[in-house]
């Protein structure tokens, strides 16, 4: 149920983001989901891509600092309270969400949200126990 996420260090200056997308485009790698966290000096770009290894290799060759992070893609019912019930479940289990971002999924009726937990394995166990649907990495990369 784990998903590999690419994390990329970016300086806060014009053109850096475009450089990442250019390298991915040249490598024929598709972006499935993304989020950008920023401070006054730098940002961290987080990506779920169609081919993790290829993207990582080419970005590193392009001079970027790249990391691998394990995240979880959770299907959330697209109705009021859908996300809330999941977050309350996590809260009761004292699992902390480091960050999260939504993933636009054209085909399904459900929203997909990418979670970075402080305790990933426990989070997966908890979600499985409560019959919360998760999208496996293999499925997500090919979506």
């Amino acid at each position: 149920m784990k998903v590999d996420q690419l994390s990329i260090f970016l300086e806060n200056r014009a053109g850096r983001l475009a450089e990442v997308t250019r390298i991915l485009a040249d490598s024929g790698v598709n972006i499935r989901a993304l989020s950008l966290a920023d401070t006054s000096d730098f940002g961290i770009l987080r990506l779920i891509v169609s081919d993790f290894e290829k993207a990582k290799e080419n970005l590193k060759a392009g001079g970027f600092t790249v990391g691998r992070t394990t995240v979880v893609a959770v299907e959330v019912t697209d109705k009021p309270g859908g996300l809330n019930s999941i977050l309350e479940m996590l809260r009761d289990a004292k699992i902390n969400v480091e960050y999260m971002y939504a993933f636009v999924n054209q085909s399904g009726a459900n929203a997909v949200i990418i979670f970075r937990f402080d305790r990933t394995d426990q989070a997966i166990e908890l979600l499985q126990k409560n019959n919360i649907a998760m999208v496996p990495g293999e499925t997500l990369y090919k979506m």
Binding site: Q5, S7, F9, L10, E11, R16, A37, T39, D41, F42, I44, R46, G63, F64, T65, V66, G67, T69, E98, Y99, R116
Partner: protein
């Protein structure tokens, strides 16, 4: 006013005769008491008795800052520990600081030399000295303090920092003299202005500034803004502290070296050859009277030149030109000496960061700023902002702790630091272009 007429106005032949006697004495003392010097002199085949004339100083070995570090902390002291009454130290990473020790007589001499310096700057017994040099291991604060008391002036040991409070007390106490770094005087001026205090309207009339390089245009700015006479003072902790040389208020053209205590030479910093009088080069100083840690031919790395022409103020001592640069990569940030290698050590000790860094030195509101750019690598990279910010704070904290300067750390992408011929450009000092 000349504080010590006898020594400050000696005819040059008499001064040089005194210097020779004292040089012979110090060489004999270090040969006897400091194994480092005995070994060096033996290797050169030089005996203390070989020093027959003042120019024989060139037979002696140089002393480098690194020699003090190598013998950290007390290895170069020439007297037993019980005879040392005070220690001072420059900033440094663990084990890399330079430590100096003073005997009772050294402290007395230092006080007298600072008293001479204050008098040369125009300070008299009735003056009130707002001493904003830092007190502590740094020699600035206590150095000026003892000199002010020796002269008989009133000293206010305000030390560094707390600028708004400084402005308030400067007004309330009515100090007539201020001592600090030149950049701090301008910073204080601006801070006072914001509080509705115009230093120009206060009784302060003399400023004695040192511990960092400054220019004549900066002097003009300080003098017109603060309405004072700005005097340049020179010193370094290895040699003594402030008071090694001072400008006279009367002429303000070069700093009088206290030559009865210090033998000054100018050398070519590449070849080590002594240069002709008047040539520009690296200032080298031999301490003639120091007991605690006498140094032979200490390489200051400060670029200057000497002028032995008599001065209209009446002093016969040689004058050194205002220091115009350094022959090494040492930075002076808010009066604190910082070597890039010290920052490098701190980075390596902080989570094994790569040594790819760059120091950007600037000046904002007349205060020096230091930005440390560090290239990030996979080993320390995290997908979480808070971890990277924690890393930045940790570096800032370590720099503050070890070097005593406030720095701002900025993580940058790998290979983003400009490299020339494969070697990274370590320092960008924007203060010169801003001055």
């Amino acid at each position: 006013m000349i504080f010590d007429v006898e020594h400050e106005t000696l005819p040059r032949e008499e001064l040089e005769a005194l210097q020779l006697r004292r040089l012979q004495n110090v060489v004999a003392r270090v040969y006897e008491n400091v194994p480092f010097y005995r070994k060096k002199l033996d290797e050169l085949g030089v005996k203390p008795t070989h020093i027959q004339k003042l120019s024989d100083v060139t037979l002696l070995p140089f002393t480098e800052k690194q020699d003090l570090r190598n013998h950290y902390p007390f290895g170069l002291f020439a007297v037993s520990r019980e005879n040392i009454v005070r220690l001072h130290s420059s900033s440094g990473t663990t084990g890399k600081a330079t430590v100096v020790g003073y005997t009772k007589r050294d402290i007395k001499n230092w006080g007298q030399l600072v008293a001479r310096s204050l008098a040369a700057a125009g300070v008299t017994t009735g003056d009130f000295i707002h001493n904003a040099y830092g007190y502590g291991l740094f020699t600035g604060g206590l150095g000026v303090h003892y000199g002010a008391e020796e002269l008989g002036a009133t000293v206010i040991p305000i030390s560094g920092g707390g600028t708004r409070r400084q402005a308030m007390l400067l007004r309330d106490f009515g100090a007539t003299v201020i001592t600090c770094t030149p950049s701090y005087s301008l910073h204080l001026f601006e801070a006072a202005k914001e509080m509705g205090i115009d230093i120009k309207e206060l009784p302060v009339r003399i400023g004695i500034f040192g511990a960092e390089p400054w220019t004549d245009s900066m002097r003009a700015e300080i003098e017109s803004k603060l309405g004072i006479t700005a005097i340049d003072i020179y010193g370094l902790s290895e040699i003594m502290g402030p008071g090694v040389a001072i400008e006279c208020a009367k002429v303000k053209k070069g700093l009088h070296i206290q030559e009865d205590h210090f033998l000054a030479e100018i050398i070519d910093s590449d070849t080590g050859e002594q240069l002709k009088p008047g040539d520009k080069g690296e200032l080298v100083i031999t301490t003639l009277t120091k007991e605690g840690i006498p140094l032979l031919r200490y390489r200051t790395r400060d670029i200057s030149r000497l002028n032995t022409a008599p001065c209209r103020c009446g002093r016969t001592t040689a004058r050194m030109e205002r220091v115009t640069g350094r022959s090494d990569d040492m930075l002076i940030i808010r009066g604190v000496n910082v070597f890039p290698s010290q920052i490098e050590t701190i980075l390596l000790e902080t989570d094994g960061l790569t040594p790819h860094y760059q120091l950007i030195v600037g000046r904002i509101n007349n205060l020096d700023t230091l930005e440390v750019r560090v290239e990030i690598d996979e080993a320390v990279f995290s997908d979480q902002i808070k971890n990277l910010q924690r890393l930045e704070s940790k570096i800032e904290k370590n720099i503050k702790e070890f070097l005593g300067v406030t720095a701002r750390c900025k993580l940058v992408e790998p290979k983003s630091i400009e490299r020339s011929e494969g070697k990274a450009k370590r320092i960008i000092d924007m203060r010169q272009s801003q001055a």
